[in-house]
Symmetry: C2
Subunit: 191 residues, 2 copies
């Protein structure tokens, strides 16, 4: 039986994304977001509360980076989602994380994270309660340790985790359960 819940954004799994920007004093700010996704071959979209410092920073610099949070930095990632840079301007310094300037866009790169997208602001769609920030990926950075012998990224090496919007849990990526563009062929052959 399906229960009707009204309109709820209960997508799952949700990624845990770190959005890094510079403020007006070139100070690093980072916030955590789950409401985002791929918005085309070279674009990402994230949904932000326009009151966030991050939003002002993105407007200012027309750039940001998005890093994929990993389990070794879970506490830091969570911290960056709890505290506001509007109230705590030294928020990032207190995280103990490391940032270096992007070589491509006017935004910091969190160098300890496995994958980072260096994005130029493409468009902001502002609505009453939220703002959709669309970034054009100018470059993707990946830690060399992620690559396996075949030269491809091994997703288990990312050590990414999932945010659960229902009970506010974080979950690891589990065991392999199938092969995309392959397992479905069995179904097609039927009949």
């Amino acid at each position: 039986m399906l229960k009707k819940l009204g309109p709820k954004p209960y997508l799952f799994p949700m990624p845990v994304l770190l959005i890094a920007t510079y403020d007006e004093n070139k100070r690093v700010d980072v916030m955590t977001a789950a409401w985002g996704g791929v918005y085309g071959e070279e674009k990402l979209a994230v949904d932000l509360d326009p009151h966030h410092k991050t939003f002002a920073n993105i407007k200012l610099n027309k750039a940001f980076t998005i890093s994929i949070a990993d389990i070794p930095h879970l506490k830091e990632a969570d911290y960056l989602g709890i505290y506001s840079a509007n109230r705590y301007p030294d928020k990032f310094d207190r995280s103990g994380l490391v940032a270096a300037p992007s070589e491509i866009v006017s935004a910091p790169v969190l160098t300890e994270f496995p994958i980072t997208f260096e994005c130029e602001l493409e468009e902001i769609v502002e609505e009453e309660k939220d703002a959709h920030v669309i970034g054009r990926i100018r470059n993707t950075l990946a830690d060399e340790k992620l690559f396996d012998e075949s030269g491809k990224i091994d997703p288990t090496r990312i050590q990414a985790f999932v945010f659960d919007t229902f009970q506010n849990g974080y979950y690891a990526i589990g065991e392999k359960v199938g092969n995309a563009f392959c397992d479905g062929n069995e179904i097609a052959k039927k009949e």
Copy 2:
């Protein structure tokens, strides 16, 4: 060391989403997509190739549903991502899956899946190669079996899985590794 890969949409974890629509003959069509995310409190965005039958169907009906794929239907979900309804109009029938009309929007609901978003088409942003389809969630359906004793959805009961864009693998959701809006407090107290 971070390697520069050029612009790549290497977001991870990626969800596995089933987009269900009716065609011009009210025949059910379903395709699988990974490029999507929450686009606000009551909106979802998915990125589609405009050549997909699904795209024509969404334009026709101004509606679609999105279901979260689960491990018990992994093969079916994969199949729906491999085969095109443009070439195989009986694609959905061959999947063996069950659909019922949504009570709210002009689209089918895949009743065997754990969570389904019944969406009205809000906007299509067409670009050269892809189309961003933004849906307004009119209602969210969740299987009653997902709810735990506290009345909340237990994310492990969804049995969702993750798509890996690097090597085309599917991965289960693993063990719990933390608590959001909680674990980060340790960091904040430092100094």
